[in-house]
């Protein structure tokens, strides 16, 4: 019976092409707007490392003095001091730990044809690669020995390796970076992580990733400036050494626990550590020490911009309008078929049968609207992607969103069709059969 | 009251020309109660539509209460309909979303009467048909006979000179039909001219004059006593 109703539904669409076109287009446009904005929101807020996100933690310790402090207000910084980061690294907490900050440096390509240029990179400790499951195309992360002595070693991104050395394995080759010869020890595979949650300060967490990685100790040894943000309270002495000793925040630390349940253990360690530091005269604010897992961190830092949320709300508001519009159109479509319904009822159809028939018709409208809506959404995403690199990464339709398009379209159509279908069932056979 | 001379009405659709009325002649004097009979397709409805200024005619002359209808534009015809004519339809044609008061009110609003005048006329009209107590009810809550009486009240509220009725008892049972006819006869006795189209020969017998239309032409029968005297001037087809 349902297949028969499905065919009837398709046929009825053809019968009144203008009305059908209006209904399908209205629904499709509403669905397209909602799906494209939802796709961007979905990509922005999706967990970039779901297999671990509940047991990767970011600690936040507020080192600022009492001035300018209202207890309970949100901290300005999302980074911590060098001292605190080093202490966390040494703590032995969890399975592994890392500390990192963004750097940038001039590189002199080995091929003379390419002039020197600036690269953006990261200075983490070696556990970073295992923690964030960074795939390697060639070589591997630097050794512990390299890290201990701050050796001049570098890991390149696949793209950068190809640009500098061509399509060969560059491990072992030398590269003039920031004025010193570095040895390439590894090349990372093309690796998409949206957002790049390990470093949310400075730059766009949605654009293509770092081009090179050097050990944190090496960057510090070379007094490499941060390429991100730094926040200092009070007077700091001149020079890099003073910065390391100060309470300026410019480093992020991450702790990988064995399981999500270890959170309370890590939190206690943080609190004990903080009270010890307070005895040494630091951490004057005595603010609560925070610990965030990946989803919590994304929410705290507001990675998903307000604009993305605004656009999504707006699109769904528009879909609501299209829905109300569709209700009216469906009412019109069904009301002109009152005599057909009367005849069907007279010939033995029950109310439930009429309900099923017309509901399936709305499903047909929903599916056709979904197809058109999908095409429009893909087009819209392409258009949005043209506005920038970060957007191009985000405006990608995946299978989940594709399926969601049809779900939204059919659900919207069915929702819109409930009232008209119910009305259709109320038609009494007798009255409609009279000629008047 | 009403005079048509050599009237004809032609319907043209694509390839087909239909002559609904041909060389139609009729004169109705003030105060008469005329029934119009004829088989289906004879042109009764066209005649009534033209008499009621609902349609234009193709040629001939029509004078209504001294006014030559020919040169009038749509607005003037509407005004004339509103002031001089009253309509009663077979299907009652009450507006379902308005209560009885508002239904009778419709033509009065177009007349431009003020609120007090309208109220008085509506109450009088509904009282005359015996439905004053149900002013706030809706047509769906009434029987067929009652609905027709409301339609009559609506037709009367504007104190028209000529009442046009199209099969007013067609959708009613015999008892209700008799009630409506008695009401119409009362109204005619009070001085309103009535022109009534009907299928029912029993009703045709009750009136003083019966006009018979066949194939778009008149066969006028005036009742003078129990016998029928044929006074038509044009030969029957």
């Amino acid at each position: 019976m349902s297949a028969y109703y499905f065919k009837l539904g398709l046929r009825s669409l053809r019968r009144n092409p203008l009305l059908t076109a209006l209904m399908v287009i209205t629904l499709a446009v509403g669905v397209a707007a909602s799906v494209s904005t939802l796709t961007i929101l979905h990509m922005m807020s999706s967990d970039p490392i779901p297999q671990k996100s509940a047991r990767l933690f970011v600690p936040l310790i507020d080192p600022d003095p009492l001035d300018n402090y209202t207890p309970g207000e949100k901290q300005d910084d999302i980074q911590i001091t060098y001292q605190d980061a080093m202490n966390i690294l040494k703590s032995g907490l969890g399975v592994r730990r890392t500390a990192l900050y963004g750097v940038a440096g001039a590189v002199e390509p080995p091929r003379r044809e390419i002039p020197p240029f600036n690269m953006g990179g990261l200075a983490p400790t070696r556990d970073f690669f295992a923690m964030f499951e960074v795939p390697f195309a060639y070589g591997q992360p630097w050794t512990e020995a390299d890290e201990a002595r701050g050796a001049d070693v570098v890991v390149l991104s696949r793209q950068m390796a190809e640009k500098l050395f061509g399509d060969v394995n560059p491990v072992g080759r030398r590269l003039n970076l920031m004025g010193f010869p570095y040895t390439v020890v590894g090349v990372t595979e093309k690796w998409k992580m949206l957002p790049r949650v390990y470093l949310l300060q400075g730059g766009s967490p949605y654009s293509t990733g770092e081009e090179f990685f050097i050990p944190l100790a090496t960057a510090v040894r070379h007094e490499t400036q941060h390429n991100g943000g730094m926040s200092c309270s009070g007077n700091i002495g001149p020079g890099f050494a003073a910065r390391l000793a100060s309470d300026c925040t410019w480093i992020t630390a991450w702790i990988e626990a064995a399981s999500a349940g270890d959170r309370s253990e890590i939190q206690s360690w943080l609190d004990i550590y903080a009270s010890q530091q307070r005895k040494l005269g630091r951490l004057k604010r005595n603010a609560p020490n925070r610990l965030f897992d990946v989803p919590g961190w994304m929410e705290y830092t507001g990675v998903v911009g307000k604009d993305a949320k605004l656009q999504t709300w707006l699109a769904f508001g528009f879909l609501a309008l299209c829905l109300v519009n569709t209700i009216g159109l469906l009412l019109a479509k069904f009301s002109v078929r009152a005599s057909e319904i009367g005849v069907r009822r007279a010939l033995g159809a029950s109310r439930a049968e009429i309900f099923r028939q017309f509901l399936i018709e709305t499903v047909v409208v929903g599916l056709v609207g979904g197809v058109l809506g999908l095409l429009l959404a893909v087009g819209a995403l392409k258009l949005i992607g043209m506005s920038g690199k970060a957007m191009a990464n985000l405006a990608q339709m995946d299978w989940q969103m594709l399926g969601l398009t049809f779900v939204i379209s059919v659900c919207a159509a069915v929702l819109a069709g409930l009232l008209p279908t119910w009305r259709a069932c109320q038609v009494t056979p007798a009255i409609q059969l009279k000629s008047q | 009251m009403l005079r048509m001379t050599n009237l004809s009405k032609v319907y043209r659709t694509h390839m087909i020309e239909t002559h609904a009325l041909r060389g139609f002649e009729i004169e109705v004097k003030e105060g008469e109660f005329v029934t119009v009979t004829g088989p289906s397709g004879s042109g009764k409805t066209s005649f009534l539509n033209i008499a009621g200024l609902l349609e234009e005619f193709s040629s001939g002359e029509y004078i209504l209460d001294g006014v030559n209808v020919k040169g009038l534009d749509d607005n003037q015809r509407s005004r004339l309909r509103n002031e001089k004519l009253g309509f009663i339809f077979q299907g009652f044609n009450l507006i379902p979303d308005l209560n009885l008061y508002d239904n009778v009110d419709v033509p009065l609003r177009y007349r431009g009467f003020n609120a007090t005048e309208r109220k008085k006329r509506i109450e009088d009209a509904l009282a005359k048909v015996g439905l004053a107590s149900r002013m706030k009810h809706y047509p769906a809550e009434l029987s067929g006979g009652q609905q027709q009486r409301v339609a009559i009240a609506r037709a009367l509220a504007g104190t028209p000179k000529l009442l046009l009725a199209d099969e007013p008892t067609g959708n009613l049972d015999t008892a209700m039909a008799r009630g409506v006819m008695e009401l119409l006869e009362e109204i005619n006795a009070a001085g309103t001219t009535i022109l009534m189209v009907t299928h029912d020969p029993e009703l045709a017998v009750r009136t003083t004059r019966n006009v018979h239309i066949i194939d778009g032409q008149v066969s006028d029968l005036v009742r003078k006593g129990p016998t029928l005297v044929d006074t038509s001037t044009a030969a029957t087809a």
Binding site: L22, T26, V29, L66, N68, T70, P115, P116, N118, G179, T224, Q225, S233, N235, G237, P238, F240, G305, D307, K309, L310, Q311, W313, L314, G317, F318, A320, L321, C322, V324, N325, G328, A332, S335, I384, G388, S435 | N49, G52, L54, E55, D74, S78, R79, R81, N82, E83, F87, F89, Q90, N93, I95, L98, N99, D102, V106, P107, R109, Y110, R111
Partner: protein, 411 residues
């Protein structure tokens, strides 16, 4: 005018009118808020930088490959500044720590009194050893520009020097000393016992911050007279070209710098126009999206009104014929439908105003947007009233054309 009977008839058949009114309400609510946000963003993007003819200004980031000593960097700065000045078409050059709207720069906490615990304002810090007033084309409204002896060289690797005198922007002066002249007054960098005092030497009309924040902070800038070097970063130059010569000057400046240096340089040249468009790219995208959806809202609502009105005309053919038979003129029928539609639109408009305020409240609380000024709702109401009348005109005209003879036809 038959308002009451029209209203009663509408009440008997509520579904259709409610659907139309709901569409109008939704559209109005969303439209008012969307246009408000678009206008706000437009105002923000239109904020002047404070620079005269900003199209003529561009920046050059210079990095060397090797690690220079601070002294070498200072020599480079002096040499490169001269080289740039000698390029034909260059009106002014300044070595500077940050550029307006470039999203890269630093802020400092400012206070009126070191004993305060809370800062009085936050300023975007422009450090330059040359005249920024000249290079940026800033308008001096009080006090004076820095004198040559005040422009000192500071080695950031070894010294931490706070300037005895600074120039600030007028909005910042207004915030710190409302209604009074700021010149000669003392201001502190930071708060607490370590706060450093400085005197206000001059006030410029405006200079937008490096980060271009979406609030008043963008207008609070501080100019510090220092030629800073040895900070471990490259050097940044601001260059003003003669009007309409910018692109040529950029090419020649690049060539001149490279020629003047024995070592290879990494140069990055960006115009202020590019900085501005990059800064606001996201905002532009959102604005376009809001405008597009607003237009679609109007189109969909208009279609909805036209559709419903047409449907009612078709459904009430017989009734319209009867009215005509009873004496309604064409204009009476037209007026009936337009009045009926006006009532429905009005219900929608009132609902829309309430819904719009509620939506705005939601946006304010959840997305930190600003309050909706009443003007948008009023303007929106007028738009939808007009839209309703225009949309219903066609179907109303069709209704008026229905022949009175429809009353007597049996089907």
């Amino acid at each position: 005018m038959e308002i009451r009977p029209i209203f009663s008839a509408l009440m008997r058949n509520k579904t259709g009118p409610i659907l139309v009114a709901l569409q109008v309400a939704l559209s109005l609510a969303i439209l008012a808020n969307a246009l408000h946000i678009v206008n706000e963003r437009r105002d923000i993007m239109g904020r002047p930088s404070g620079m005269a003819d900003e199209h003529a200004v561009f920046r050059i980031n210079v990095r060397t490959l090797g690690n220079e000593t601070p002294e070498q960097q200072l020599a480079d700065i002096k040499r490169q500044t001269e080289v740039l000045r000698s390029v034909s078409g260059v009106a002014a050059v300044a070595q500077v720590s940050q550029m307006p709207l470039s999203t890269s720069g630093s802020n400092t906490s400012l206070a009126l009194d070191p004993r305060q615990s809370k800062e009085s304002a936050v300023g975007s810090v422009y450090v330059s050893g040359d005249s920024l007033i000249k290079t940026f084309g800033l308008k001096l409204v009080d006090g004076r520009d820095f004198l040559a002896p005040e422009l000192v060289d500071v080695n950031e690797a070894t010294e931490n020097v706070y300037p005895p005198g600074v120039i600030i922007t007028q909005p910042l002066a207004e915030k710190l000393w409302p209604g009074a002249s700021a010149v000669g007054k003392t201001m502190y960098f930071g708060t607490g016992p370590e706060a450093q005092p400085t005197r206000i030497i001059g006030v410029v009309e405006n200079l937008i911050s490096a980060h271009g924040e979406f609030n008043e902070r963008a207008m609070h800038s501080v100019l510090i007279p220092q030629r800073a070097y040895g900070g471990g970063r490259g050097t940044l130059y601001a260059v003003r070209a003669e009007p309409a010569q910018r692109d040529r000057v950029m090419k020649e400046a690049e060539t001149a710098l490279r020629k003047s240096s024995a070592l290879p340089l990494i140069l990055d040249l960006t115009t202020t126009d590019e900085d501005r468009s990059n800064k606001y790219r996201g905002t532009v995208t959102v604005s376009w999206m809001l405008v597009t959806v607003s237009l679609l809202l109007l189109v969909v609502t208009c279609c909805g009104i036209v559709g419903m009105a047409s449907l009612w005309v078709t459904q009430r053919r017989k009734q319209i014929g009867v009215r005509r038979a009873l004496g309604a003129r064409k204009i009476d029928v037209l007026r009936y439908f337009i009045v009926e539609n006006f009532m429905i639109t009005s219900a929608g408009v009132f609902g829309g105003v309430a819904l719009g305020l509620a939506l705005n409240q939601l946006l304010v609380s959840k997305l930190e947007m600003t309050r909706l000024p009443g003007g948008y709702l009023i303007a929106g109401a007028v738009v939808f009233w007009l839209l309703g009348i225009a949309a219903s005109y066609g179907p109303a005209w069709r209704a008026a054309s229905i022949s009175p003879a429809t009353a007597t036809r049996s089907v």
